[in-house]
């Protein structure tokens, strides 16, 4: 690859580009991460204790989680809620992606994509806040439902998990739509026609022909949404209630309120490792390979 670069841009420029990338990757991604790994295996010490007998590697930070039932509950709840967010996002996104890829005319698709993209030009915090307003006890959604006579007293959307789920589905919908849209788009329209022609109704056509074809795209979308949801901070912090605390909030607390970076780092890595393991397991269950996703 380097020889290709050299042939195209000449030696000095190529070395410069590669060096910049290396500095970026090593200095700003790999080393900080390694430092955090190192932190996570050390006890939280006072500056004077660094270098003393107490400064040795330990698994203590990692075992803390398993001794704390509240944290453990929040941990598994975060994983479960992220699964739920992923599932809901998929349910919302798939029909839209199919419509965009196979039903809409090019103009309709362009308009739809634009409408989907525009809100994402606004800062995530602001978008989440607008949901806070929409879902508030005396907010416009409750006013609308009351006005239509569908409910006779306002619903507390923001207590419990409802607000967080809605906020996250909204925040990550594009990460789900685009991979699925790409996958369905590459399906030959005659495949759908052939299934219809052989007597398949719409549900079976999706289940037997379109979804199997779109599986890598669905997997990519689900993985992105799941990872983003599990690692999300802003949405649960703004739309969550005390009952719907996210594990990231606990990590945040260790870092910035407990002042225990070592403990926070250990929690963060546990979340990362378990999430990756979970994804690997799900991929195995649904028989999706890494190669399929990279396509």
């Amino acid at each position: 690859m380097f020889s290709q670069l050299k042939a195209r841009f000449g030696a000095p420029l190529s070395v410069g580009v590669v060096a910049l990338i290396a500095v970026w990757l090593i200095g700003m991604v790999i080393l900080p991460q390694l430092l955090m790994v190192d932190y996570s295996f050390k006890p939280n010490l006072l500056p004077s204790e660094i270098g003393s007998d107490k400064d040795h590697y330990t698994l203590e930070n990692y075992t803390t989680l398993f001794g704390n039932t509240i944290h453990l509950t929040i941990f598994f709840k975060t994983i479960w809620s992220s699964v739920l967010v992923t599932f809901l996002t998929l349910v919302v996104s798939y029909p839209l992606a199919f419509y965009l890829a196979k039903v809409a005319t090019p103009q309709q698709a362009a308009l739809c994509l634009l409408l989907l993209l525009i809100p994402f030009w606004i800062n995530e915090i602001l978008r989440t806040f607008s949901w806070y307003i929409i879902l508030a006890y005396k907010g416009p959604l409750n006013a609308l439902l009351l006005g239509l006579g569908l409910i006779d007293r306002p619903i507390r959307f923001l207590s419990g998990d409802g607000g967080v789920l809605i906020g996250m589905v909204y925040a990550y919908i594009l990460f789900m739509i685009f991979p699925i849209y790409n996958a369905i788009e590459s399906l030959d329209g005659n495949q759908i026609k052939a299934a219809r022609n052989l007597g398949a109704g719409w549900i079976r056509t999706h289940y037997r022909v379109i979804i199997p074809h779109a599986k890598p795209g669905i997997a990519t979308g689900c993985i992105m949404t799941f990872m983003l949801a599990a690692g999300s901070y802003a949405v649960p912090a703004l739309l969550g209630s005390p009952g719907s605390r996210w594990f990231t909030q606990i990590i945040y607390n260790w870092f910035f309120e407990g002042g225990d970076w070592n403990q926070g780092a250990a929690y963060a890595f546990l979340l990362l490792v378990i999430c990756i393991g979970f994804i690997g397991l799900v991929m195995k269950v649904f028989k999706v390979g890494l190669g399929d996703i990279a396509r």
Partner: protein
Amino acid sequence: MDSSVHLDNVVMQFGDFTAVQQMDLKIESGEFFSFLGPSGCGKTTILNMVSGFLEPTKGAVRIGGQDMRGVPANKRPTSMIFQNLALFPLMTVAENIEFGLEVRGVSKAERRKTSDRLLELVALEGSGTKKVSELSGGQKQRIAIARALAVEPQVLLLDEPLSALDLKLRQHMRTELKEIQRKTGITFIYITHDQGEALTMSDRVAVMSAGKLQQVADPISLYKQPDTAFVASFVGENNGITGKVVSYANGEAVIDAGVLGQLVGKAHKPLNTGDTATLFIRPESLHLDSQRDCQIMTQLDEVNFEGSYLTLNSRTLDQRALSVQLGANQYQSDMVSGKELALSYSAVDAIVIAGEVGDV
């Protein structure tokens, strides 16, 4: 069982564009019927209307006498073979064939029996467990046929299914398709722009141009008695000489073709004196002598040797191109560019049709 297809005064419009002009056509039960025409003439639109992917703007499609208006594609007794076959790549060969039966809730054992029987019909026994990607072009073709037949359709629709195959395979598949049609007795509606395919396989052929039906006839009549100038020039090779009608009487017409003088041919339809008309002579009906009814002087441009026959491309005095087909044994060494050729033909071999070659 009645499996006729009746296009009852159908019209298909897309916005301002009329893809199929008013058409009333009945395809008989068990017939091998072809739609022949250049690309964009509306023949695929007809297939889409019969299969239910499109609803005609006006008129109705009747299959076995039953009005198909409002019947969705998945409820029609038709089965289609797509131009690109559209086999399901993620299913095995057997799963592909059995898909239509799976949809209908047929039991697994029953399905297996059908797919085995069909694999035998298309001479691919034992390939059921193979992946589609493991098959050759011709094998895929046969699987597509088997898949379409598995649902026991009343009408089989074929959208240029042989166009992706090489010449030898194409010719072989023609015979096989005809054979399968004979065995099953299903109505075949075949779409093609390849006249060879249409003429060799079909019981009847409909020639289409610009959304309009030009002529419906059996292959021999289509070749020997074209109704329109379009059919005469589209079906088979033909030489067209345009001129003015001098006289018409008793099915014979004389046209004035300028410097070529007066030429005589048969005319199936009455012509008016003074109108523009074209005289068509097949390349094989032009002879290298001057003993027949009409003579035409030409100059030779080039000689193409095509194996069993020769094609002479020549030009008349007023620069009209004429091609002549001769048996390979009639080749003479002095046939070189620039040589004067005296051609003649018998009036019964020529046909005079109103209009010009480019008319549709």
